[in-house]
């Protein structure tokens, strides 16, 4: 049960964006993807999500090639949260969250629908906002609503064994310290429930703290992949980020200022 990328390469005429990246996201596991701006993180994430196909290499969900899975079936087992666009019309927060309810996949659980929305909204701290207009919310509030929508998409009755994957592109952007911590705790909770999670994060300390494995991408190449404490070294990080970085061991911390 995993999402795997095998030798994924992608490029435009001018530039190779990704070079032979291989990665596996198992269930019960949080993998964080870090690297400087323009390293190819978002492109990799889009390829994993199935937005477009790589030039070479392939992506598999649970051993099946992504190209063999229909757009609809993909939506049943993985949800994606990325930098979202503004919503033009005045949808309410509740309606935006409900958009995540992939009906054809979840219609078997129609009776649970309202309960699922309520529970997820509470988990993401947006329950009090449900009747508000989405476009009137602050950036951080909108982010939490989108996160709730992303979770609703994978909602199943508790105890479900279906493989599910969360792909999150900077889920904590615009969030204050409290919500940053709570959202990452929630991701951890989902991983315990059986989700496989991939998170793009910029804060190396958060990434090291909250993930089981870290993948460092630089110039389109996977530099390191593994347990955060084992793969992070001040030498590699300093080189990648062009910064003087030190790592203190106890407590584990990356210092860069």
């Amino acid at each position: 049960m995993s999402i795997t990328a095998t030798d994924v390469s992608y490029g435009t005429k001018k530039k190779n964006i990704l070079k032979n990246v291989s990665l596996e996201i198992k269930h019960n596991e949080i993998v964080s993807l870090v690297g400087p701006n323009g390293a190819g993180k978002s492109t990799f994430l889009q390829i994993l999500a199935g937005d477009f196909e790589p030039d070479s290499g392939f992506v598999q969900y649970d051993g099946i090639k992504l190209t063999k899975i229909s757009i609809q079936e993909r939506s049943f087992c993985r949800s994606v949260m990325s930098q979202s666009q503004p919503i033009i019309f005045d949808f309410s927060v509740k309606q935006v969250i409900e958009m995540g309810w992939v009906e054809r996949g979840l219609s078997a659980y129609i009776d649970d629908f309202h309960q699922a929305v309520t529970k997820t909204a509470k988990e993401c701290f947006v329950f009090d906002l449900l009747e508000d207009k989405f476009s009137n919310l602050s950036g951080g509030e909108q982010r939490r609503v989108h996160f709730a929508r992303t979770l609703i998409q994978l909602w199943r009755p508790s105890g479900s064994q279906e493989p599910r994957y969360l792909i999150l592109d900077e889920p904590t952007a615009n969030l204050d310290l409290f919500y940053e911590r709570e959202i990452l705790h929630l991701v951890r909770k989902k991983a315990i429930d059986g989700f496989g999670c991939l998170i793009v994060l910029h804060d190396l300390n958060l990434a090291a703290k909250f993930s089981d494995k870290m993948a460092i991408i630089h110039n389109g190449e996977l530099v390191k992949f593994g347990n955060p404490k084992e793969i992070l070294s001040s030498q590699i990080l300093s080189e990648i980020y062009h910064l003087k970085l030190t790592i203190s061991e106890n407590p584990f911390r990356i210092n860069y200022y």
Binding site: G50, S75, S84, Q85, I87, I88, W101, R104, G105
Partner: protein, 345 residues
């Protein structure tokens, strides 16, 4: 991983208030239809017709002139309202309307060509009454093909591009129409100007029946994409991650609006602003979710058009005001108000 495909029905009108609004709109539509059948240059007592005691003249006016005309106006209004609502959803732009993608301009150009140049050719009398509608539909089909080819089959990144092509097509068609107007004779000019401003006068069963059938099919085809249009508001890539086949949705909405707009324009001429204004009014009434908006816009479009047509044929009896004048006169101030309102926000 084969799953049974369920219908979208469980989310339909979850809102009780929206359901009430739909019923009220429906009631208003029926009322306006009944009023329209009664009022006119020829006052008709409906009860007499039903009881078969009306004079043959009254009966003929009702069955052969008035009813087809009212029916057509409702269908055209419904199709313009519906396609306006779906296109605004598809382009995620509150200012989109059926004219924007250039289809109605194409239809107008096709019809104008026939009116001005068609008389130079010999036309079979049996087909004569179909010549203008058919050439209008052909004109809109040309535009659809042009759009389809130039956006590589409405592919992923084509949406802004499509608007620009629509603008170019509109400009081109305007030039064509202006040129044809310039070279037309007095008689042609008269039928041209009436047609460009829109009219339901001269509706006959033989011409409107095929049109109504086509419009009905297109409406039924389009109206069940409401849930997908909702999800599309998150953005194209988000929607496809939520399982919406965005390319198919674009194809469906654009083809069906092109068809209904082409057919509407071919039967009644250019009627502006309805497709733009009606969805906004319906949103203000009850909400933005498309399962409400699409149905509401279709009904409200029908109401607006039948009332406007009633005005067009009764305000300056026995003459008729072109219906496009009425809808524009109503629509322009509302449009201005919408823009000012969105700026103030």
């Amino acid at each position: 991983m084969i799953r049974k495909i369920h219908s979208y029905s469980f989310l339909k009108f979850t809102d009780f208030r929206q359901r009430i609004i739909i019923w009220i709109l429906f009631f208003l539509l029926i009322t306006s239809i009944i009023l329209s059948t009664k009022i006119g240059a020829f006052s008709i007592k409906l009860l007499e017709v039903i009881l078969n005691s009306a004079s043959p003249l009254n009966e003929m006016v009702l069955l052969e002139i008035r009813i087809p005309r009212i029916l057509l106006s409702c269908f055209v209004g419904a199709s313009l309202g519906l396609s306006g609502a779906s296109l605004q959803g598809l382009f995620r732009n509150p200012l989109a309307d059926p004219g924007l993608i250039g289809v109605s301009a194409g239809a107008a150009l096709g019809a104008t060509l026939t009116i001005v140049l068609g008389s130079d050719f010999v036309i079979y009398t049996a087909l004569e009454r179909y010549m203008i509608p058919i050439s209008a539909v052909l004109g809109s089909v040309c535009i659809i093909v042009l759009l389809y080819v130039s956006t590589k089959g409405f592919s992923q990144k084509g949406i802004a591009y499509m608007l620009l092509i629509g603008i170019a097509v509109n400009a081109f068609a305007t030039v064509g129409i202006a040129f044809l107007t310039f070279i037309s004779s007095d008689l042609e000019l008269r039928s041209l100007s009436f047609w460009i401003m829109g009219s339901f006068g001269g509706s006959e069963w033989v011409t409107i029946l095929p049109g109504i059938i086509i419009i009905s099919f297109a409406i039924l085809w389009m109206i069940d994409s409401s849930r997908e249009l909702d999800i599309l508001q998150l953005g194209e890539s988000e929607a496809s991650r939520l399982g919406v086949d965005v390319k198919k949705l674009k194809f469906k909405v654009i083809i069906s609006s092109a068809v209904i707009v082409g057919v509407s324009v071919s039967l009644s001429g250019m009627i502006s602003f309805v497709g733009l204004i009606v969805p906004h009014i319906v949103r203000l009434l009850g909400g933005v979710n498309h399962n409400f908006l699409l149905v509401g816009s279709a009904i409200a479009g029908g109401i607006l058009m039948s009332v406007a047509d009633l005005g067009s044929r009764t305000l300056i009896q026995p003459a008729e005001i072109p219906i496009g004048l009425i809808t524009s006169a109503l629509g322009a101030p509302i449009f201005l108000w919408l823009i000012l309102r969105s700026v103030r926000k």
